[in-house]
Amino acid sequence: MVMRDKVYATMDEAVADIPDGSTVMCPGFSGVGVPRNLLAAVNRQGARELTCISNNAGTTDELVDVGTLVEAGQVKKMICAFTAPTHPSVISPFVRMYNEGLVDAELVPQGTLAERIRIAAAGIGGFYTPTSVGTELAEGKEHRVINGRTYVLEYPLPADYALIRAWKADRFGNLQFRLAQRNFNPIMAMAATITIVEVENDVVEIGELDPDQVHVSGIYVDRIVKIPEDGIWDGAKPGL
């Protein structure tokens, strides 16, 4: 029996077919585990009218992130946990454009965001969370008291594509993450229809990863690209 080899040669090939109007998941947290090379390729590719699902909507630094797509006018709507700056003086491109009405947004508490992504992968139609009860964000949502506690109903958040940054992969797409790089990557990899992965470390042969130490099964992964020498690295390159 064979297992499929999903390795693509370049980031550009791996994202070439993403059409205008797609919903795209963009993981990363505090700058770690961000699929910067794939995002740069989507920026070059030029898909527009995107809905992006991400913890935040980009920073003010020079690094490529989902904010790069926002600034380029490729994003119609952000679904994220931050739509205002933590410090009023730090105005990211997204914040400026959101304030000017150039991009739409849906604000979701971070744990609700994570679980909505997970249930999209899990075939669950909705879940009741205690988060946001008694706040503005719960207004208009269905409330329910279960065992004496009040919950609001939240729905799944699926996507057409997930852009993933992993530490290691095998050619079938089994993935491993390193430390805080994991964050939203596994659940987004599982929730999207097409999952595209950039890999920091090696893409190894099938069978080289310990089955007990696979963080995301290759059944969820469609395309794999090794980050090239001249790609976008965070700090020092791995192993160097």
Partner: protein, 224 residues
Amino acid sequence: MTGKAKLTRQAMCDRLAMEFQDGWIVNLGVGMPTLCSNYVDESRSIINHSENGVIGYGPLAAEGEEDRHLVNAGGQHVTSQPGMGIVHHADSFMIIRGGMIDVTVMGAYEVAENGDFANWRIPTRKGGGIGGAMDLAACAKRVFIAMEHNTREGAPRLLRRCSLPVTAPGVVKMLVTDLGLFQIAASGFELLEHAPGWSPQEIQEQTEATVKVSPGLREFRFRG
């Protein structure tokens, strides 16, 4: 009942396995369906998934070479295979409910022409055995059934409506019995392939529901 030969369980399961397409993720139920894994087309990538969170396991382990920590959903010792991965039970059913299983093959007591099937409970006995069957039946992309055409007593099992409590309504797409291969379409059972020597008329006589004959009816295909 005629004395003519019926299909063996292995032939039935080999035939279903011929339908597995390259890249499919397959969940084989306890019992007869596990025989589907004996037919392996080396050119196709077929990923075995088991409810206990084993993704991509290999063939049954030879006696004396079992790994005591590696079993499939039927408790059979299976072998490790390159590319395998392990998840816990909740994540394993994310795969199932999330619609990642291309086909599940199960046994059944009864199948109805509307795609209902029953395999978890006999009302005259207390309790039931569901396991992962209801999740798989409700959520897999395709449900295939492998079962004998009639009960041991000769009663029909391909029915107009199930008499037993159903496992899931309207989900069965393909069915193999010891008399042939059927698909279930909007119009009900359609005979695609008949066991050698069995005419459509003879198969209809063993069946409560109406069996429509496929325009492309042919003799049953064996592992070649």
